[in-house]
Amino acid sequence: MTATTGAKPLVNAYASGRLAKPVPWALLGATLLVSAVSFVFIWMAEPETEYNIAAAVFLGVVGYAAAIYVVSRLVEGPRPAMNRLITTLVVLTFVIALLPLISLMFTVIVNGLPRFDATFFTWSMRNVVGEGGGAIHAIIGTLLMTGTAALISIPVGLLTSIYLVEYGRGPLARAITFFVDVMTGIPSIVAGLFAYALFTLIFGPGVRLGIAGAIALAVLMVPVVVRSSEEMLRLVPNELREASYALGVPKWLTVLKIVLPTSMAGITTGVMLAVARVIGETAPLLVAAGFTTNVNWNLFDGRMQSLPVFVYSSYVSQGTNAAASLDRAWAGALTLIVIVMLLNLIGRLVARVFAPKVGR
């Protein structure tokens, strides 16, 4: 039925063996309409149920995929038909991926905006009970600890990936590659326990420090940096390296001036992913860096609050004024996302400055 409704405008285009441009759109509209109408019938049969929009859209889209394949196969032949089907699916995956993102963003923004105010960014939680209070102590802690973790893990990770791609041969390189993979599987809380145990050995029992949190984050961050940078470095064509060697450029300069800039965009993406991964970690920071309501600038002395822990504890421990606590939690989540977005933006700008100007 869908095929016949959509096939009508095809007649003119048939001669050329290709579907005219508006045909797919017409098909899409037709299938959606058919699906919507049929669900109206179902709804009228059982009026006590709600009209099922999601199912109607879903059926319409599936119907479109089938219809475009059949129509295109009839008109254009099997290969273009496959091509159209895949195009539909690829676009569809993107739309599917957008759904949770939109839902998430909507939830976070709607719930986070009420407390996204000046107090939130100038107050800590010292002496605050119930309403009010802010997250400046958590923001400072997150930036300090994530920054330190990045300062440790980006050089180490980048150098390691350079070693693996440019220098490493033999068992050592294989071992590093393998164990970096293993490291990606360290559960975040185990990293936290490790950092906590390490600093307990040095400073005595029960010690909780910002730097311990940073070390835990670095343990989590390094393998992600290595893995993604390695992938990007490997993609740099050998011809580029060989051209450089042929000009008499030493290997280290080749790496520094040719290989790194070529893969800069990819490496930045990887690093940003790594930062985004660790900046939202809760469990290791709770174990290693502890919990506090006060601002602490010193990584080496005393507990340090971080945004994820702030969000988590505001959610977990709501007290009698639950609404105020939840509002703080959502505002904290929104802040965290905004921080990562800003970092991402900066990273991209930097990548653009360093990247060679090639058409891509």
């Binding site: 605050v128 300090l144 490496i267 919990f291 309501t293 006060n294 507990r303 977990v316 007290g319």
Partner: protein, 365 residues
């Protein structure tokens, strides 16, 4: 990348120096200690049960307001973590949903205390646990312990079961599947709730007091009090148990004690603690309560969580003894308990208990 990071940190550091030592608008700067009304200063570190966190926040806030140069850190790592930290000497006091067991006290010395001395345990945070459910149009149900145990062991599966209906004349119960929700994480709330079931309905609830739920009872698992409340709120025909302050708009169960049904209330929760004896064989100021959950006294609500504050009787050298004493004294004082009730919905301790606790606190060296 590295450039942005260092740049960012430099900018942060700059912002930090500009805004004095602490840039939070509500915190005192370094130069702010001109007048010291109390003379107390320093940092006191505690760690332990997350159940106490809201109450601790209220206590800490009030105590720090009265003594601006004091910082009290309470780290809600959990009861087990809190006890271990205290034992290792990593904190000056601990919060725990249960008292130390006798063999635990005898087995090791406590890191923060002088070896061989007793510890002080104060039941400072008493919180009723509400049995909450989500049924349209029903705010309250009467249930006895055996029915509750039947529901939570999966033996009673429908809301209109005869066992429930017979206790609730005039309530229209729906023909709906019961989804019992229990805590998926190990928690003091579960331990206290199952302890009640084990004591009050031993023939139905046969596994005793447990911290983690047996898989064969089925039901839904939710994590933390917030997860429990969310699961009960978002589900259909759900029933669970949570800290009473979080019951909100959910329906709550009045529990059968003796011949009457008692809804939860702070007073009824405090009453059961007063009606229960202290545990035998402990140190003079080790106020571990042995709850009589099968008490038939009038007006007691038997499902309560007692969270203890644990400190040394004699601290090792260098510990902020004055701070510990002042802080604990504030916590057990009438104002402190009042603040906790407002912030966390807990039940204030009675005057008799307060006297015993204060005697212990004053003896701290």
């Amino acid at each position: 990348m590295k450039i942005t990071r260092t740049g960012g940190i430099a900018a942060l550091a700059l912002a930090g120096t500009l805004a004095l030592s602490s840039c939070a608008a509500n915190e005192p700067g370094t130069g702010g200690n001109d007048d010291q009304p109390s003379g107390l200063s320093g940092t006191l570190i505690g760690a332990g049960a997350s159940s106490q966190q809201s109450a601790q926040e209220a206590w800490v806030a009030a105590f720090q307001t009265a003594n601006p140069d004091v910082t009290v850190e309470y780290d809600p790592v959990g009861s087990g973590g809190g006890r271990d930290t205290f034992k290792a000497g990593g904190s000056q006091f601990a919060g725990s949903d249960r008292a130390f067991k006798l063999d635990e006290i005898e087995a090791d010395d406590f890191g923060a205390c002088i070896a061989g001395t007793d510890i002080i345990e104060i039941p400072a945070y008493i919180s009723p646990i509400a049995v909450i459910f989500n049924l349209d149009g029903i705010d309250s149900l009467n249930l006895d312990a055996a029915t509750l145990a039947g529901i939570f062991t999966g033996q009673i599966t429908k809301w209109n079961d005869a066992a429930i209906a017979s206790q609730n004349d005039g309530v229209e119960l729906p023909d709906l599947q019961i989804t019992p929700v229990h805590r998926g994480d190990d928690s003091g709330t579960t331990a206290n709730f199952t302890d009640y079931l084990a004591v009050a309905a031993p023939e139905v609830w046969t596994v005793g007091s447990i911290e983690s739920w047996p898989a064969e009872f089925g039901g839904e698992a939710a994590n933390q009090t917030s997860g429990m409340v969310d699961a009960v709120t978002n589900g259909t025909g759900t029933i669970g148990y949570a800290d009473a302050s979080r019951a909100g708009d959910l329906g709550t169960v009045a529990v059968k004690v003796g011949d009457e049904y008692v809804p939860y209330s702070p007073e009824a929760a405090a009453a059961i603690v007063d009606a229960s004896p202290l545990e035998e064989g402990r140190g003079e100021f080790d106020l571990a309560v042995s709850l009589e959950r099968d008490s038939t006294a009038s007006g007691v609500y038997p499902i309560v969580l007692i969270s203890y504050l644990i400190a040394c009787t004699e601290y090792a050298e260098g510990a902020p003894v004055e701070l510990v004493k002042e802080y604990l004294a504030y916590v057990v004082s009438a104002e402190g308990q009042q603040a906790a009730q407002e912030a966390a919905g807990s039940a204030p301790i009675s005057d008799t208990l307060r006297e015993k606790a204060l005697a212990g606190i004053n003896s701290i060296k």
